[in-house]
Amino acid sequence: MAVLGIESSAHTFGVGIVDNGRVIANAKAMYKIGGKGMIPKEVAETHLNNAAGVIQEALQEAGISFKDISGIGYTKGPGIGHCLHVGMLSAKTLAKKLNVPIVPVNHGIGHIEIAKKRAKLKDPLALYVSGGNSQILKKYGDRYKILGETFDIGIGNMLDSLARSLELYPAWGSTVEKTAENGRYIDMPYTVKGMDFSFTGILTHASKMKGKHDNKDICFSVQETAYAMLTEATERALLLTNSKELCVCGGVAQSKRLKRMLNGMAEEHHIRFGYAEDPFNADNGAMIALVAEQMLAHGTKAKLQECNIEQRYRIDEVKLWKG
């Protein structure tokens, strides 16, 4: 028996299938982000067009059919309302049709849990970095607690906005990383307060540098500063919580530079550091399926009519399983 998970909080409509913690499918279709960023209505329309196809693709990839599905999970939030609705509706329809239990999943928990699973970590401190979120978390009992987070925007949004303002294409973080190669450092504001951090100062400053400095120097400096801030805040949290393991997850965890910095810091403290493969750091359905499977195994399920979405669904609101 297998659990199917649907993710649609932002630009990706993803459908993953897991069987006893093993990922047997991870299909997705993405909305192409243009120069204006994400327009919610347009993204949701793209998801609507892709939904049925991606579900089929996942089943094919797993080599199973609908009758093998024993549970459904979907992203309840956080994310863009229009987009979340598409995933929720697909999940509810499937659950009703197949007559299987359904469970709403927090997007961020999906990212953390799949990183833990793929990196074979037991009780790590987690740095969760994506477009809209940048948080440092650890699980205590049956709940994640937020130890540190951004005061303003997520690091991914900051990098995407920078790419747009420098007119880089495609306008997102990996292009910033590519452009940053061989760059030289120019001063950037560095804002860490304890385990919290802020990114708007860097973005404003960097946008003003446009035309005055090479793009590669701007990208290099933004990246070095922002990642150093995250690494420093994470280091504080590691020592404060006395953690022996660290994982990084979320879309920005695809950055090689960020992983190298975190790895260097973890080595200094003799801490085990791990992360998932890139397709699991980008938004995906497998992580939702993975969490849904565990939640269902621990007796959590929701009534169909209670299944909703929540654009600002906070990780620390979610009651999970112990251990």
Binding site: K145, I146, L147, E149, Y185, Y190, K193, G194, E224, T225, A228, T231, E232, E235, R236, L238, L239, L240, T241, R260, M261, L262, N263, G264, M265, E268, R312, R314, D316, E317
Partner: protein, 196 residues
């Protein structure tokens, strides 16, 4: 030279200078960030921390005396006592702590990590230590955060006394308190755990 502790940012060790113990706080190189950022941060923070300590003391708070500073290290008076988090403070101790914070805030000094792990009780009364996250700031937000961190790290009764002490010397008490209430109403702080 005895290594006492290793924080995220610095190591502390003890040396003896003409028979007297001195505490050294040294900010070590972090190889994972580029040298330009690393050196600038360590130098700037060391300078700022030493200045904050000297000025907080001048403002009337009990703070370890700064004997000397290097580019990345501070040599300071060693305080003998127990951390507040490991002791039972009297009402007077807590009022004194509140007063000290009020004196600092009046001079535009915020501590940034004002918890029971950074307060010491000695036979001469309370001391405030570790200004590593401190700031020169007159922002009500930062001042309110000092109170919030203290509140979260000690008992209700102890905090009530500290607040009395703070109120007795602070001219901006009402403004800071109303900001504190506002911060508590914000989502991110309602569920936030402060472990220290």
């Amino acid at each position: 030279m005895e290594r006492l502790s290793e924080g995220a940012e610095a190591v502390m060790f003890e040396i003896r200078l003409s028979g007297k113990p001195l505490l050294v706080k040294a900010r070590n190189r972090k190889a994972w960030r580029i040298a330009r950022i690393d050196e600038e941060l360590r130098e700037r923070r060391t300078k700022r921390e030493a200045k904050l300590m000297v000025l907080a003391k001048k403002a009337g708070a009990a703070v370890p005396g700064v004997a000397a500073t290097g580019k990345y290290s501070i040599f300071m008076q060693k305080i003998e006592g127990k951390l507040l988090k490991d002791s039972k403070p009297t009402a007077k101790d807590m009022r004194t702590i509140g007063r000290f914070l009020g004196y600092m805030h009046a001079q535009g000094i915020t501590h940034g990590d004002f918890t029971s792990a950074n307060l010491m009780l000695t036979k001469d009364g309370p001391y405030i230590i570790d200004f590593g996250l401190g700031n020169f700031s007159n922002s009500e937000e930062e001042k309110a955060l000092d109170l919030l961190l203290l509140e979260r790290s000690i008992s209700k009764a102890a905090y009530a006394n500290a607040r009395k002490g703070y109120a007795s010397v602070s001219k901006e008490y009402l403004k800071v308190i109303s900001r504190l209430d506002e911060i508590k109403k914000r989502g991110r702080y309602q569920t936030r755990t402060l472990l220290s």
